[in-house]
Amino acid sequence: MALQPPKQFWLPKAGNRPDEYEDAARAVYPQRIGASGRRTVRVVVADGASESAFAREWANILTDAFVDRPLDLRNLTEESLSAWLAAAQAEWHAGVPWDRVPWHGEAKARAGAFASLLGLTVGTAPDDPRRLCWQAVAVGDSCLFIVRGGRLQVSFPLADAAQFDNTPALVCSNPANAGDLWEEVRRGGGQCAAGDLFILASDALACWFLASNAAGEKPWETLQALNASRWADWVTEQRDAGAMRNDDTTVVVIAVAET
């Protein structure tokens, strides 16, 4: 089995400029897939909460950290996650120009930025280098979908369009306001099969995907058929039709091939 190169698309909320897009996504493939660390395929989506300040920076720091400092998701503990997160929080704090923050941004900057986080790693099984396994971690409402045999096999961490609301769990850049993050962490994992389709999406597209699937449609076929030139028009059509919330929109699609 092998993973095909990812298709990755994004579009800011209508009315916002591209530099105001507060989602972030990265996908990194090693030359040869192994069982752990930098030898795994790492794909990540973060959705910065626009109600918070410096959220775009925070989403980017989280996604960069996930691919550059791989977490061992199989053996993830509260301690290993905290240590990983502390470095990201320190980087965010160091990047805020505290002496130049205007009055309207001060309280929000002190409170910290918030973002959802969805990370996926794919590596060889520890006991069998011929098999591929996936591991995922999520905080909030960015979702991973795995389509197998023409049906939605895995919907993680949310499984119903009705579960999307305005108060998702979020990762905070300020340790003092991070709450009990471990309580909010969702983990998943399983084996990959040839023909699997992995789809990672921030909330607006994830909610559309689940509603479409629940209506008996095959939203993955729509996403597979999209290309870079068609993507923006398609999202705009969905937004205009009221089928997708007007929000920053991000998707990464990866197919598992036979070889």
């Binding site: 009315g15 626009s50 300040a53 205007p102 009055w103 309207h104 941004g105 929000k108």
Partner: protein, 285 residues
Amino acid sequence: MPYTADISRNNPGCFLFLLDQSASMREALGGQPGLQKMDGAADAINRILDAISQRCSQGMDIRDYFHIGVITYTTDSEGTPILATVFPETSLQQPFLTVSQVVDAADVEERQVKESDGAGGIVEVTRKFPVWLRPTASYGTPMCGALAAAASAVGAWTEEHPDSYPPMVINISDGAAGDGDPEPIAQELMALATNDGATLLYNAHLSEVSAPPVQYPAAESDLPPDDFAASMFRMSSVFPDPVRDLATSMELPVVEGSRGYVYNADMVALVQFLDIGTRAASDLH
């Protein structure tokens, strides 16, 4: 469903504050000695403008999700109405600024405040406080004139923004209009609509009558014995469902049919009143 339009820079929201600056605003607010209504009202509006600015802040920048205006009303000693806008380079015809322009128009004061240090203690820190409005109060209450000015400005705004969340007009007044019956003009204002619903008019009635406070009543029978309360109640919009849901979640005393009307509010209730009016829209961006 009305009152659910997504708020973005393409389809901004609109807040218009009307502030009575007549002589009765020198009385004590909410029966609280030492705090005049004019001070409380100016402070509440400054605080809510600060809160809206902060909600639109991304840290360094502001996103212009709202157009905001403030109109004050009083008379001279002869009873001639004096209507004025608070923000620079605005007029009664066009009282609105974008949030980023509102931010630029603030006088920013530094004050020492006590805050929790996060470890059970209290520390004194310097915080910035933006000020747009200074308290003043004298002479009469030309509320009809103020509502007519609001209707004219909001009418033009709704024509320019047909797909926006409906405008919200928040009137803080002693309720005793000195220039006629405000109800028909208020009804005209409340009939101005975007495709997402009719203009919402909320009233904070700081009465000259000393009667106990009433918040968000649903029926005239809930009102105190005050000649002007029924009229102010009728010219207050019923909370749309999404606003009532939010008010419920903020643990405010609302029921089915509650209107955006508070009578003889104290400072806390006045700030909550402005907050519920503006937050329902802010949550939609």
